[in-house]
């Protein structure tokens, strides 16, 4: 009997460790590539193009994004010191809202490039962090997009996106700072809720150059 318990425990430990061991084997670029490929597939899907299919398209994309993007790590950094003062529910609520915001900021941007090719160009690993560089080919000009990743139980996860040298997380952090100083967390939360409601209410895609062009082609 004790032997059986021992093996059961051993198995349990091994099962628990397995994801971490497996994750170790997959490098950051290889972890990210399938996610980006799926997103591009959705963006290229003719049946999901245009503003009419925005909801369905975004839902599909977010399904893939959520597996590879760690919104809690993003939220932690974007709030800084404020994060530590929040309780579990508040944190969960903030992560949810902030991921919505990122959905519009990042996927909206990708939609603007309407499924043009993305090449992975560089990878830099430092401890449990990595920076994966990619380039979007947009009308012949190369737009650099870097993914900042952290190695967790679930493998390499993205916690910041750097578009043309500008970190999204840092940019929101800078905007949140004066709001937090002036109106505290409650004020920020209200603004965030309003912003997400405003974005959802619009129900249209982002208006960048390329999406305008592709809309014209659709009609």
């Amino acid at each position: 009997m004790p032997a059986r318990v021992f093996f059961a425990l051993l198995l349990l430990v091994l099962l628990h460790l397995a994801p971490a061991i497996l994750a170790e084997a997959v490098g950051p670029t290889e972890a990210l590539r399938p996610t980006i490929d799926r997103i591009l597939e959705v963006l290229r899907d003719e049946q999901l193009k245009g503003d009419a299919n925005l909801r369905a398209r975004r839902e599909k994309i977010m399904e893939f994004v959520k597996k590879r993007f760690e919104f809690e790590e993003m939220s932690k950094r974007v709030l800084g010191r404020e994060w530590r003062a929040l309780n579990e529910d508040e944190r969960r609520n903030f992560v949810e809202l902030f991921s919505k915001l990122l959905e519009y900021a990042y996927i909206g941007k990708l939609e603007g490039y309407s499924g043009e090719n993305i090449d992975f160009t560089s990878e830099r690993i430092k401890g449990d962090r990595a920076e994966v560089g990619s380039v979007i080919d947009h009308h012949g000009s190369a737009i650099p997009v870097s993914y900042i990743m952290i190695n967790m139980d679930s493998g390499w996860m993205v916690y910041d996106i750097v578009i043309e040298g500008v970190s999204l997380v840092r940019n929101y952090m800078e905007q949140f700072k004066p709001i937090l100083r002036k109106d505290k967390y409650a004020g920020l939360l209200k603004q965030l809720e309003d912003k997400v409601r405003e974005l959802e209410g619009q129900n249209v895609g982002i208006k960048s150059d390329a999406s305008l062009l592709s809309d014209k082609k659709d009609s």
């Binding site: 010191r81 603007g112 009308h139 870097s146 043309e164 905007q175 619009q202």
Partner: protein, 255 residues
């Protein structure tokens, strides 16, 4: 004018500031310091004249709706992307001498060689710079260098953040440098003495540039909580990263 040019060259060779100084402080996204409140505020010039800047910001904001946006969208619709791309290449090539002098002044000799090589290749094979075969055929990527950077490399501080009407985000030092680059050197190479024609060329160049980014400003308005703060941060982030993107600069891997 020619004398000024020679003076600048001689000064460049005499001064020879520490090579590649600007390239040493790349942003390290993998270090959490980057995300900690106010860690690098010391490097960023303060926004001392924020009330003034905000007025200028709303001025440009209105200008965008009533002038830049309508003009650019008509232009974008009228001229195909290929031609607009050629125009952008042409201006980039035309300004190569400015970048060449600035790389020399900053002691970035390898970059100076790249600029020169690109200029020669694109002017000849690229039909007066309309194409960019240096990048597309030979993978020689563009290098940027401005007078603002040169002043920085010589130890002149940013002063303060400055939002310039008709122009956008800058700092006191960078905008002064821009004036030197734009008003003194560019017309010299174009052999134009009439400032109005220079202004027209500048307006065209900027309209052409904006035609590739139409809609981004609208996105920014929707996606940000304070577009003024967002642009200020993006300006400093972009400036820092673009100064470290030249292929010759030591890459962050070599730590």
């Amino acid at each position: 004018m020619r004398i000024i040019f020679f003076f600048v060259i001689v000064l460049a060779l005499l001064a020879a500031p520490p090579a590649g100084q600007a390239a040493n402080d790349a942003i390290d996204f993998l270090n959490d310091d980057f995300y900690t409140d106010g860690q690098d505020d010391g490097e960023r010039p303060r926004d001392l004249i924020e009330p003034f800047n905000r007025v200028m910001f709303s001025f440009n904001d209105t200008l965008y709706d009533y002038l830049f946006q309508p003009v650019t969208s008509v232009y974008q619709a009228a001229v195909p992307a290929d031609l607009r791309g050629c125009a952008a290449n042409f201006f980039l090539n035309l300004e190569a001498p400015i970048r060449f002098v600035n790389t020399l002044l900053q002691g970035r000799f390898a970059d100076a060689g790249t600029v020169l090589l690109r200029f020669v290749v694109n002017t000849t094979f690229g039909v007066w710079g309309l194409g960019d075969p240096a990048a597309s055929e030979f993978s020689i990527m563009p290098v940027d260098a401005s007078m603002g950077e040169t002043l920085g490399a010589w130890g002149i501080g940013d002063g303060f953040y400055l939002y310039v009407p008709f122009y956008g985000p800058s700092t006191l030092r960078d905008f002064s440098g821009q004036l030197v680059d734009g008003l003194v050197m560019a017309p010299y190479y174009m052999n134009i003495d009439d400032p109005w024609i220079s202004l027209e060329i500048y307006s065209y160049k900027e309209t052409n540039k904006m035609s590739f980014h139409l809609g981004e400003y609208e996105d920014l308005r929707v996606l940000t909580f304070d577009p003024y703060v967002s642009i200020r941060d993006a300006y400093f982030q972009y400036r820092k990263s673009s100064r470290n993107r030249s292929p010759q600069s030591p890459s962050p891997e070599q730590e």
